[in-house]
């Protein structure tokens, strides 16, 4: 095993590969009053990690929570990722740092000091990749009402602005002849010169060129989406981020989260 050992040793010997910290938006919590926690992963400069769908290679980023009994953590809110391209392949992720947000809802158990722990499992890469497992813990005191931690709240607010908002009228999505056709009412669709779509479920869309073409007709925007070369049956749903782009392909904000059934 001597040939494979150095990588593991490198990972063990280098805890500074990434650094995980937690920031709660409150200094004190009140029972049944949800608050936001940010998982902040700092990477070495120039390194990157991945979105929920890593794309053509890589690994989805995951966070597991350990909370007081009866407490709940929401699904992670991922900021809209960047695209990394190399050798004709495309991956989706974040460079230098990544922040994942979750809403924590206190439950039946209301300890004087609540401990919140996040275990992060990510893959960190520069030209090559190393799995990184890290954890962070914070304590939040119980109060008669929730009290904001202003610097953390500001940090969280800045990152919330990079998280896509739900697209309220996602229209209809049909699957036929190995293509996905997405029809959106033009009146409520985001205004854009062009669109990019980050598919959230691995293996549904082509990661490099998810949007084949966009046409506007009869009051509808019709996007033709390219399926992944590994898609072998009709997907049950389409999930991901629709990013409107303006002049020169520049993204107009973080885009819109879509989760809709495929007809």
């Amino acid at each position: 095993m001597s040939l494979i050992a150095p990588l593991f040793l490198a990972a063990l010997a280098n805890p500074a590969l990434a650094n995980v910290s937690l920031r709660a938006g409150v200094t004190t919590y009140a029972p049944n009053s949800p608050f936001t926690v940010a998982v902040h992963v700092k990477l070495q400069p120039g390194w990157h990690t991945y979105w929920m769908n890593p794309g053509d290679s890589g690994m989805p980023s995951r966070v597991n929570w350990t909370l007081p009994k009866g407490w709940k953590a929401s699904e992670l809110r991922f900021p809209t990722p960047e695209q990394f391209s190399a050798n004709d392949f495309m991956t989706y992720g974040y460079h230098d740092e990544a922040v994942f947000l979750a809403t924590i809802t206190p439950g039946a158990e209301a300890p004087a000091t609540a401990q919140i722990r996040a275990d992060v499992r990510i893959l960190v890469c520069d030209e090559s990749c190393i799995p990184f497992n890290g954890s962070a813990t914070i304590n939040v005191r119980k109060g008669s009402e929730a009290a904001e931690n202003s610097s953390n709240a500001k940090f969280i607010q800045e990152w919330e602005q990079r998280v896509p908002q739900p697209l309220k009228t996602p229209g209809t999505i049909a699957f036929a002849k190995e293509a996905l056709t997405w029809t959106l009412p033009a009146a409520t669709a985001p205004k854009a010169k062009s669109f990019f779509f980050f598919g959230a479920d691995p293996g549904v869309l082509n990661n490099s060129k998810p949007v084949e073409r966009v046409i506007e007709e009869n009051g509808f925007i019709v996007l033709t989406l390219n399926p992944s070369d590994v898609l072998y049956e009709k997907p049950t749903q389409l999930r991901g981020i629709l990013v409107p782009r303006g002049e020169n392909g520049k993204a107009l904000g973080p885009g819109y989260w879509v989760s809709a059934p495929v007809k």
Binding site: D56, C129, P202, R245
Partner: protein, 204 residues
């Protein structure tokens, strides 16, 4: 080298540069033909194995996801299981010289011995020609070809994209399942999946 495209507040150029994803094999279509030498200098042509099931496995021994499957002998056990059923399992190394996972023929032979590979051979593809013909994008990336030369599975080795060897046990091994189903005369229930792992270290 990774080119970075900032989407948020930056300029997006990647969509223009990569208008077409590399074309690769398709499920139900004839597998791309190839001829490659193995680490003992013997040449292998895919056609030589007509009439047999063939598994292609892209590898890079320094990739943590390959390590995940070799460390405790899981990949070797699947190779052995397949070999016992008459399957020809070809491991393919497409790392370019100077890149992660590259080994010369002697290096491949010592690795095969050291880790107890049970595949028929490791084929050397340092120029990445065959890797590109198959649009192999990760290590591992798996392909199963039936006795008629048709691709019946392509994608991940299993259903759990973690880097943790402990997760192999509860995962579905897609290659083994595809071979079992096909050999029983059934349709392959999961004929493809998005592969996970390191990118293939092709030449720049």
């Amino acid at each position: 080298m990774i080119k970075r495209t900032l989407l948020v507040g930056g300029i997006a150029i990647a969509a223009l540069a990569f208008a077409q994803q590399a074309a690769g094999p398709r499920i139900g279509a004839v597998a791309p033909a190839f001829t490659l030498p193995d680490s003992n200098g013997k040449s292998h042509n895919l056609k030589d194995f007509s009439g047999k099931y063939v598994v292609l496995e892209w590898t890079n021994h320094q990739c943590p996801f390959v390590v995940k499957h070799y460390k405790n002998g899981d990949m070797q056990a699947t190779q052995k299981w397949a070999a016992d059923k008459g399957v020809v399992w070809l491991t393919i190394l497409s790392s370019a010289p100077g890149k992660q996972g590259f080994l010369d023929a002697a290096g491949v032979n010592s690795l095969r011995k050291e880790q107890g590979f049970q595949s028929a051979a490791t084929l050397l593809d340092p120029q990445g020609t065959v890797g590109r013909a198959y649009a192999a994008r990760t290590t591992p990336h798996m392909f199963v070809i039936d006795p008629k030369g048709t691709v019946i599975y392509m994608g991940a080795i299993d259903s759990n994209s973690s880097a943790n060897p402990a997760d192999i046990k509860g995962a579905r091994n897609h290659v083994r399942a595809a071979l079992e189903e096909a050999m029983a005369g059934k349709a392959v229930s999961i004929p493809s999946s998005q592969p996970y792992g390191c990118s293939v270290k092709y030449p720049d």
